[in-house]
């Protein structure tokens, strides 16, 4: 439910009346941050499927372990740490689409953790973009090489 609500604001659902988009997420190995990783991956899969999006959605958590602010908690840090704040973010419009928290934060810590998680999301966003670009660069390379071959074929024929 929270994942749906994290992704939906980015989707131009108005372009798909009377349509449902099913997203299936399978956690293969859980070591903390599954929710955020799911959102990051699902938004990429939506983009890969050609669903019109405002922007990709990136997810990342910030937290507190032994009184220190940390980014992207693993399972142990999540279970035995002091706080965990998963966040999903639309970088282009600077909107937070998912925000949860458990543990204990003073107002200053909340402020810092929020900013830290957003910085994390922005880093992940760059990787998401690179991944998409790389895929299309590969496709365009392939198409280019294929057209060259067929041209050669034409000449020979």
């Amino acid at each position: 439910m929270v994942i749906r609500e994290a992704l939906e604001p980015a989707i131009f659902a108005i372009m798909f009346p009377r349509t449902a988009i099913d997203i299936y997420i399978e956690t293969v190995q859980a070591d903390g941050g599954t929710r955020c990783a799911s959102i990051t991956a699902a938004s990429l899969a939506l983009a890969d499927a050609g669903v019109p999006l405002k922007d990709l959605v990136a997810g990342c958590a910030a937290g507190k372990v032994d009184g220190t602010l940390v980014l992207d908690l693993n399972d142990t840090e999540d279970k035995y740490g002091d706080a965990d704040l998963p966040l999903a973010f639309i970088p282009r419009t600077k909107e937070v689409t998912l925000l949860q928290m458990d543990g204990s934060f003073s107002p200053e810590e909340f402020n810092d953790a929020l900013n830290l998680a957003i910085t994390g999301c922005e880093k992940i966003y760059e990787i998401q973009r690179e991944t998409l670009k790389k895929k299309y660069a590969e496709i365009s390379d392939k198409v280019n090489s294929e057209t060259t071959t067929s041209k050669e074929g034409d000449l020979n024929g």
Binding site: V2, P9, L99, Q100, D102, F105, P107, N115
Partner: protein, 266 residues
């Protein structure tokens, strides 16, 4: 069967949004004011604890029940606290009987997270025989009338019921038999967490949304604060989004409101 739809007419949606942009609400409240609250505790004699809370027209009752059980293996010296929410059809035409819906599950989880993360109940004091017998605290939330903001109402009712709950004294015999005594002690409640929900519509943030405002809103966010004013739980809901600056403002509003709401507790 005709099912009531959770859709506002366009005219109503626009009306609610326009009012909010003017700084007022359909029930003439200001954007940052909460509806009238009444709390009656211990109104069910047979329960260990109970609370009947009204928040405007929203009404919830909470029951606290203690049962002897075995602790979790990873926490052998701690009792257990569990929260369950029931959204019965009598509360609203939008609720139906049957297995819990997403709304009900989220409600129970948000209330549970607030109580758990603030460590409101001193679970170590619920231990009777380490690794063998502990008190299990069941917190049952029943919505009786749904006019919006069930989360804040339920969270407040839950902590009110816990604060007035009584735990039977026990005597452990030599051969580890447990006898329940007539005498009771208060349940060991050491913090009083308060949940505050804010809704966002048309760029404005309002507190304590009523049902129509809940239909009109795009997103909501629930902050739970401990007595010391630290944030202990957070949950965003709905498909609306929040800007980081809005979140920080909402945080302050919620923090101030939490200490005001705490005064309603017994």
């Amino acid at each position: 069967m005709v099912k009531a739809e959770k859709i506002l007419s366009e005219i109503e949606q626009n009306y609610i949004e326009k009012l909010v942009n003017k700084g007022t609400r359909i029930d003439e409240r200001s954007l940052d004011s909460v509806r009238e609250i009444t709390i009656k505790t211990n109104f069910i004699e047979k329960a260990n604890g109970s609370a009947d809370l009204t928040l405007g027209n929203t009404r919830v009752i909470v029951g606290v029940k203690l049962e002897l059980g075995t602790p979790f293996p990873d926490m052998p010296d701690e009792g257990v606290v569990t929260v369950n929410a029931e959204l019965a059809p009598i509360a609203s035409p939008f609720f139906e009987s049957g297995p819990p819906t997403e709304v009900g599950i989220e409600l129970a989880r948000v209330v549970d997270r607030g109580l758990r993360q603030s460590k409101a109940v001193d679970t170590k004091k619920l231990c009777i025989l380490e690794g063998e017998k502990v008190w299990i605290t069941f917190i049952d939330i029943y919505a009786l009338d749904h006019d919006g903001n069930l989360i804040d109402a339920s969270a407040l009712a839950a902590i009110a019921a816990l604060l007035t709950a009584k735990m039977p004294k026990v005597k452990v015999t030599k051969d580890k038999e447990i006898q329940l005594l007539e005498e009771t002690t208060p349940l060991p409640v050491v913090d009083r967490p308060i949940a505050v929900t804010l809704a966002k519509m048309n760029g404005a943030i309002i507190v304590d949304p009523c049902l129509k405002e809940e239909f009109a809103m795009r997103g909501r966010i629930t902050f739970t604060f401990t007595e010391k004013g630290n944030l202990c739980a957070l949950q965003k809901g709905g498909i609306g989004t929040f800007k980081p600056s809005e979140l920080l403002n909402a945080f302050e509003t919620a923090r101030n409101l939490a200490s005001q709401l705490r005064q309603f507790l017994p």
